[in-house]
Structure formats: structure tokens, C-alpha cells
């Protein structure tokens, strides 16, 4: 019954979505308030129905109801409860359902908090949002229905991919999806604005918080995925330029660009049609990402669904939305002319540069990911595009962008001067230069790029705070006054400063682990000692134990530095019999500046084991940096001016001035 309830709720949601697509749209054209107001209750109903369906599937998973197709395929009665729940989205059907749940959740949020939006714009946004919902609910119901019953029901389920049985990985899809799908808001607003033929600062003020929320989620989701890869895959890599990672990076890059260009629309009324285009692209690339992952065109860690028919349907949906949106854009964008003017040296120009480099970087990721597929499809030729390609294209495009980041927030709107800005950055530049020299002098046999990379990181970090230092008149006013000013800084200033400083921290981590990584490998028996980076690692014992759904061999290591015990590390080799698959659990000891990373390898004979140990300098900074970036986004989001509904309460004055 529970599965049928979920199934039925999903069918109802489809019907509601259909009504929500058509009625408010007609209402917006006819200026018919009755038709337009259908949008809000419909959006709420759609969300509640999908929530009901999702709840039903979750119950089926938790109770291990193997007569339900998705449960039988992807769950197992011996699995811990946590992974029964996260298993709901650890498979194709359930993850699409989660996708829709988040999509309709955003739609419901517009319905609930968007009272202040102009009626026609709100009606159109809800209509477009429902159109996306319609396509994907239809996709689930007709090609990947999780509620299909099996008769006879199997006695035991197929189990969840063991690699997914890890907290960070289990919880990263909801964040990734909140990011992907969050860009649907920007998309719906963009389409609605094109239909309205009007983009004003009020529009940007609405789009920005949604985009910021989506961006923060996506940043968090990507970092969790990367962190997981670091500690789970067992050789300390943190980014592999794997197509599935790239699929999430592309919307992130364009979303970051959108976040910045929307500022120009909001503050200066310029770059309107470009911002609309970015909004379309951010969500289009999210759809491309969904297609890449869900269709199984890529066979990689994440493509646990391999079914060409589904792929074709998603491709159709993709073509419809991207093609439709771009056609509409080509037709209506020319009417979006106008806006504030600005000189080549100005805050606006800095944001244009940001967009240029981010767009080019996106092209690098896009072509590197899709070219092998296209070449294979067209000519049958098989090539590989791996990290060396991205190091040669993506990195040189992003480096100048990073160099310019500290300048942006210091430039004035409209027309600015480079000289005073450089003066304010003098300290950051000097400190970065000194750090570069120090690193160059003290590093023993690191690569040439290490001093430059570390200098860049410090430049980004200190440069981010130069804006705050300037605003509070640090050094030009008594300390007390500066502190008073510090207290009253608007939150978005803290937000952008932290986000940019976070980039600096992340860059330091990336440069550190890339430049100074050390590794060693040995065959060890109980009591043997291995030395790396000043640590002596002794294998104490290897014991076997049984987990709930796996068998494990667990090595205990004593870590000694300078005759003092600093840690006892445990590294495991697990084996999941249901899937006949091994995984590794790495032992990590971190000082905050470096990770000691110990992996238990294969058994060698009766008593000996292959053991690998790595020193990963600065590694934790990568995820600390992305965490600070997310924090910056959230602080910015908490600003009073973004509180939903507020912008349009005071809308009359600014929009009158802009028109």
C-alpha cells in the first residue's frame, strides 16, 4: 500500500504540474488574476505530493520492502539504517525523485515567499518551474518508476554500492542537487523575464539570493565529494577531472559567473541580457550534468545507472529546455537593451573579466569532458582526455582570474583608477612577494611553481581583507573608530571577503599537496617500522572483524615522532560480499598543516602486508578553504536586504529610477 500511495501521489503531482504550467501562463497573458493565482496553491500541492512520494519510498527502503523494484535492486536488509535511508537516493530512480523533490521545493518557496513579486512575473516563474517538474516527473513515471512492484518479491536485495556507504558521500547528493536544481530558479526567472520582456534591478535582487543559495549548496556538495575521494579512494587524490566531477564543476563555474554578473544588474542595471544568458546556461549545464551522470554515457564511479533508453529521454528533455530557452533568448533578448554605462577600469569591468575567464574555463571543462564522447560517436575514434589536458588549459585560464580577484571589490563602480587600488593592495602584494621568496629559499626539492603558488594564495587571502581594511579606515583613523566601523560593516562585505579569502586558503592547499607530496611503500610484518617525513609508523597488528554487511581486516599503526607517540591510526581493507567488492578505509593523522595518510594494501603471504604511507602537506586547507567560501555565501545570504519579500516592498523607488 505504501508504495502505491507514493506512486499515486507522483501521478497526481504530474497532473498538478500540468495545470500549473498552463493556467498561470495564460493568466499572465490575459492579465487574469484568477488564473494567475492558481500557481501558488498548485506549487505547494506539487511539492507536498512529491514529498509524500519521497516519504513512501523512504519507508519502503527503511522497512526493506523488496517487492518494490528500487528497494530490491539497491538495498539489503543487513545494511545499517543510515545507509538504508541514504540508499533512497543512492540509485537512479530514487535520486531522480530527490531531484524532483528539491525542484518542487524551490517552486513552493517562490509560492510561499514570493508574495511581493509582480503578479505576472510570479505566475510565469511558477509556470516555467512547473514545466521542468512536468518533464522530470513524467520521466520518472514512464522510464524509471521506483515504485514498480516485483512479483514474486526477492528474499534479499542487491545492496548499495559499498563506495556509497560512507557518510560524506551518502550526504553529498542532496547538496549537489540543491545546487543543480537551485539554478532552476535562476532559469525560471530568466525565462519569465524574457517572456515579460523586462529585466530590472528588482529582478536581479530576486535572482541573487536563490543563485547564492544554490551556489553555496553546490560548493558544499562538490567539496564533500572531493573530500570523500581523498579519504576513501585510498591514494590521496582529491580531484580527478572525472567526467562526473566535471559535470558538477561546470554549473558551479557558470553559477559563480552568474552570481557576479547579477550584482552588476542589481547595482547598475547593466549586463542584463548577458546575465539572463548566464542564468540559462547555469541550469542548462546542470541538466547536462544530470544527463551525463544519469544516462550512463560515462562509465565511472557515479554512473550506477546504465540504460540508453533513459539517456535518450533525458537528452530529449535537455534539447527541449536548452533549445527552447536559447531560441526564446535569441528572439527576446534584443529588447533587453540599455543599462548603466561604465569605463574600462571600473567594478563593472572587473566583473566582466570575472565572467570572461570563468566562461572560458567552463569551455575548457565542457570540451574536455564531451569531446571524447563526440569524437567516438562521430568517427569511432577513441581518445582520452585526462588531468594533463586540464592542467594545460583550465589552469592557465584560471590563474589570471585568481590574480585579479583582490582588485575587483576595491574598484569603484562606473569609473575607477587603478593606482589607488594598487596602493590599498600594497601590503598584500608585499607579503605575498616575501612569502614567495621564503618558500623558494626553504623548500628543499619542490617544483618551481610552489613559491609562486603560495604567493598567489597569500595574495588572495590578504587581498580579500584589503577591502575591509579600507572600509574601516584601518590605520587612517584611531583604532577604536576602526573597530566601530568594523562592527557596522554590511554582511555582504563579510560574505565576499570570506568567499575570496576561502579561495586563497584552497589555493594554498592545492599548491601544497601538488608540490610537496611524499610517499613511501613497504611490505610490513607486525612490529615493522616505516619512516616518512619525520614520522615512524609501526604496524602493531592486523585483526579481522565482521561489520554489519562487510568483512574487514584492520591494521593498527603506532605513529611516533621524535620518540613521542602522536597517534594510533587504523587502516582497513573491507570486503562487501553482496557486491563482491573491496573498499579501503584510510588512517589519517592531521596536524592541520599536513596529513599523514596510511593505507593498508594487499596481503603478502601469511603475515605480511603492503603498506603505503603519504605525507600530504596542506591537504586539509583545500576543504577548509571551500568551507570558508560556503560560509561567506551563507553570511551574504543572511543579509537583511535579501530577506525574502523585502526587496519588492521597497521596490517602487529603485525601479522607477531604473526605468
Amino acid at each position: 500500500m505504501i508504495a502505491e500511495t507514493g506512486h499515486f501521489a507522483l501521478v497526481l503531482a504530474l497532473a498538478v504540474a500540468l495545470a500549473q504550467v498552463i493556467l498561470p501562463q495564460i493568466g499572465a497573458y490575459r492579465r487574469d488574476a484568477r488564473l494567475m493565482t492558481v500557481g501558488e496553491p498548485a506549487a505547494l500541492a506539487q511539492f507536498l505530493l512529491v514529498l509524500l512520494a519521497f516519504g513512501a519510498l523512504t519507508v519502503s527502503f527503511v522497512t526493506s520492502d523488496f517487492s518494490v523494484y528500487a528497494v530490491a535492486q539497491h538495498s539489503h536488509s543487513a545494511k545499517p539504517l543510515l545507509y538504508k535511508i541514504t540508499g533512497v537516493w543512492g540509485n537512479h530512480e530514487g535520486s531522480m525523485l530527490l531531484w524532483i523533490l528539491i525542484l518542487t521545493g524551490f517552486g513552493a518557496a517562490v509560492a510561499a515567499f514570493g508574495r511581493q513579486l509582480p503578479a505576472t512575473l510570479r505566475a510565469r516563474v511558477l509556470s516555467v518551474q512547473a514545466l521542468i517538474g512536468l518533464a522530470f516527473i513524467g520521466f520518472i513515471l514512464f522510464t524509471s518508476n521506483p515504485f514498480t512492484r516485483l512479483d514474486p518479491a526477492p528474499i534479499e536485495g542487491g545492496g548499495l554500492n559499498p563506495l556509497l556507504q560512507d557518510p560524506a558521500l551518502a550526504f553529498h547528493p542532496p547538496f549537489l542537487y540543491a545546487g543543480y536544481v537551485g539554478f532552476s530558479m535562476a532559469f525560471s526567472f530568466a525565462i519569465a523575464a524574457l517572456l515579460e520582456g523586462k529585466v530590472d534591478p528588482g529582478w536581479a535582487r530576486w535572482v541573487r539570493p536563490w543563485t547564492l543559495a544554490a551556489w553555496a549548496s553546490l560548493t558544499l556538495g562538490i567539496s564533500m565529494g572531493s573530500w570523500w575521494a581523498y579519504y576513501e579512494l585510498g591514494w590521496g587524490g582529491w580531484w580527478f577531472w572525472d567526467p562526473v566531477e566535471n559535470a558538477s564543476l561546470m554549473p558551479w563555474l557558470v553559477g559563480t559567473a552568474l552570481l557576479h554578473s547579477a550584482i552588476v544588474v542589481e547595482k547598475r542595471g547593466a549586463l542584463k541580457s548577458w546575465t539572463v544568458l548566464l542564468a540559462i546556461f547555469a541550469f542548462s549545464l546542470s541538466l547536462v550534468g544530470t544527463f551525463l551522470v544519469r544516462s550512463g554515457v560515462l562509465t565511472s564511479v557515479h554512473a550506477f545507472a546504465v540504460d540508453p533508453e533513459r539517456g535518450l529521454v533525458i537528452l530529449g528533455i535537455l534539447a527541449f529546455f536548452i533549445g527552447g530557452a536559447l531560441s526564446l533568448y535569441a528572439w527576446r533578448a534584443p529588447s533587453l537593451k540599455g543599462g548603466g554605462l561604465f569605463a574600462p577600469v571600473s567594478r563593472e569591468s572587473a566583473l566582466v573579466m570575472n565572467n570572461l575567464f570563468l566562461a572560458a574555463a567552463t569551455v575548457s571543462v565542457f570540451i574536455g569532458t564531451l569531446y571524447p564522447l563526440a569524437l567516438d560517436a562521430l568517427t569511432g575514434e577513441k581518445i582520452s582526455v585526462g588531468p594533463p589536458f586540464f592542467n594545460a588549459t583550465f589552469v592557465p585560464i584560471v590563474l589570471p582570474l585568481l590574480l585579479l580577484v583582490p582588485l575587483g571589490p576595491l574598484l569603484a563602480w562606473k569609473r575607477s583608477d587603478i593606482y589607488p587600488v594598487m596602493q590599498r593592495l600594497f601590503f598584500a602584494a608585499g607579503a605575498a612577494f616575501v612569502l614567495g621568496l621564503v618558500v623558494a629559499a626553504f623548500q628543499e626539492d619542490g617544483p618551481w611553481f610552489a613559491p609562486l603558488g603560495m604567493a598567489l594564495a597569500l595574495w588572495l587571502f590578504l587581498g580579500a581583507f584589503a577591502d575591509i581594511a579600507y572600509r574601516i579606515r584601518l590605520g587612517r583613523t584611531p583604532m577604536q573608530d576602526a573597530l566601530r566601523r568594523l562592527k557596522h560593516l554590511p554582511r555582504p562585505v563579510w560574505g565576499s571577503t570570506l568567499a575570496h579569502a576561502g579561495v586563497g586558503i584552497m589555493v594554498a592547499g592545492i599548491v601544497g599537496i601538488t608540490a610537496w607530496r611524499a610517499e613511501t611503500v613497504a611490505v610490513m610484518k607486525d612490529g615493522d617500522t616505516l619512516s616518512i617525513g619525520g614520522y615512524d609508523i609501526t604496524l602493531m597488528q592486523v585483526g579481522a572483524y565482521d561489520g554489519p554487511n562487510f568483512r574487514s581486516e584492520k591494521g593498527e599503526f603506532l605513529v611516533v615522532r621524535g620518540k613521542r607517540e602522536v597517534a594510533r591510526l587504523h587502516a582497513e581493507k573491507r570486503f562487501y560480499p553482496v557486491q563482491a567488492m573491496p573498499t579501503s578505509e584510510v588512517g589519517i593523522y592531521t596536524t592541520g598543516f599536513a596529513d599523514l595518510y596510511v593505507v593498508l594494501g594487499d596481503r603478502r603471504g601469511e603475515e605480511a602486508w603492503t603498506v603505503r604511507a603519504y605525507i600530504n602537506p596542506m591537504a586539509p586547507w583545500i576543504w577548509f578553504g571551500t568551507g570558508v567560501m560556503v560560509l561567506g555565501g551563507l553570511i551574504s545570504l543572511s543579509d537583511r536586504r535579501y530577506r525574502l519579500g523585502v526587496p519588492f516592498a521597497r521596490r517602487k523607488a529603485p525601479s522607477g529610477a531604473a526605468a
Binding site: 565511472s300 564511479v301 574600462p344 570540451i367 582520452s384 582526455v385 585526462g386 589536458f389 588549459t393 594494501g601
Partner: protein
């Protein structure tokens, strides 16, 4: 189920080099590492043989190290591997007609974007330079700012 299993097995190539694999000469070893990072493991997905503990990857690493030890240049080693396994093993696709678009697109995008921006400034720049206010506008501004001050 079977197909799923094959996919699972395809990427379990965790780990890296084995004990005793490294060359004694650090310079040669560094070259070997650089080369193995450029070669794709054929049995796993999206991993270089440097990162993979698949037996085939191990054999390839040995092969690379032997060739380097016997005095071959980096290019000769890569050419040898490509001759045996095809261009698919190269993680850095070589520049030729079929990959021209791949290699040029990112920089072409950057260049074209830069040109578009340049044209944008050229077209808008001089014509839209803010003009000094006329006497009439000055008077209007005066009036407006005064009214504002009075209100404050």
C-alpha cells in the same frame, strides 16, 4: 545484475606503486613518474597507471621503468606504449587535426570573449562619454539637492 557488477569491478583500482618498483636513480624515477601520470589505466576508468594497482597498470609501469633504464627518451617510451596500446592510453591527447578543436576551444573562447568585450567598449566608449551638464540641468540638480537637504 551482471552488468552492474562489471562496472563495479571496472573501477576498483585503488592504490599505487608497489614495493620495489621504484628506480634507484631519483632522476630516472622522477621521469618515470611523470610518464606514468600521462598514461591511462586500460582496465579502470579515468585513472592514470600511476594511481592504479590493477595488474595491467603494474606491468605498464614496469615496462616504462625498464625502457627508461635502458636509456630511452621520454618520447621514445611514450611512442612505444602508444604503438602497443593505441592513442587511447594517452591522457593528454596529441595535437592533430582531430583534436585541434579540443585544444583550441578554451583559448578561442577566451580570445573571442576578449574581442567582444573590446568591441563593446569601443562602440560604447566615446559616444556615451558622460557629457557635462547643461546650465538648465545644473539648475535642476541644484533645486533637487536643495529640496533633499531641506527634508533632512
Amino acid at each position: 545484475m551482471k552488468r552492474t557488477l562489471v562496472i563495479f569491478l571496472a573501477f576498483i583500482c585503488l592504490g599505487a606503486i608497489e614495493p620495489g618498483e621504484k628506480l634507484d636513480d631519483p632522476a630516472l624515477e622522477a621521469r618515470a613518474r611523470a610518464i606514468t601520470k600521462e598514461l591511462r589505466c586500460l582496465v579502470c576508468q579515468n585513472q592514470s597507471i600511476d594511481d592504479s594497482d590493477a595488474p595491467l597498470a603494474r606491468d605498464l609501469r614496469d615496462l616504462v621503468r625498464q625502457r627508461i633504464k635502458s636509456g630511452e627518451s621520454d618520447e621514445e617510451v611514450l611512442d612505444y606504449v602508444v604503438a602497443r596500446y593505441g592513442e587511447f592510453v594517452l591522457l593528454r591527447p596529441p595535437l592533430r587535426l582531430g583534436t585541434l578543436v579540443l585544444w583550441l576551444a578554451p583559448f578561442a573562447a577566451l580570445g573571442m570573449g576578449a574581442i567582444v568585450i573590446y568591441v563593446f567598449y569601443r562602440r560604447r566608449g566615446p559616444r556615451h562619454e558622460p557629457q557635462p551638464l547643461s546650465a538648465e540641468e545644473e539648475a535642476q540638480l541644484e533645486k533637487l539637492t536643495k529640496r533633499r537637504e531641506e527634508r533632512v
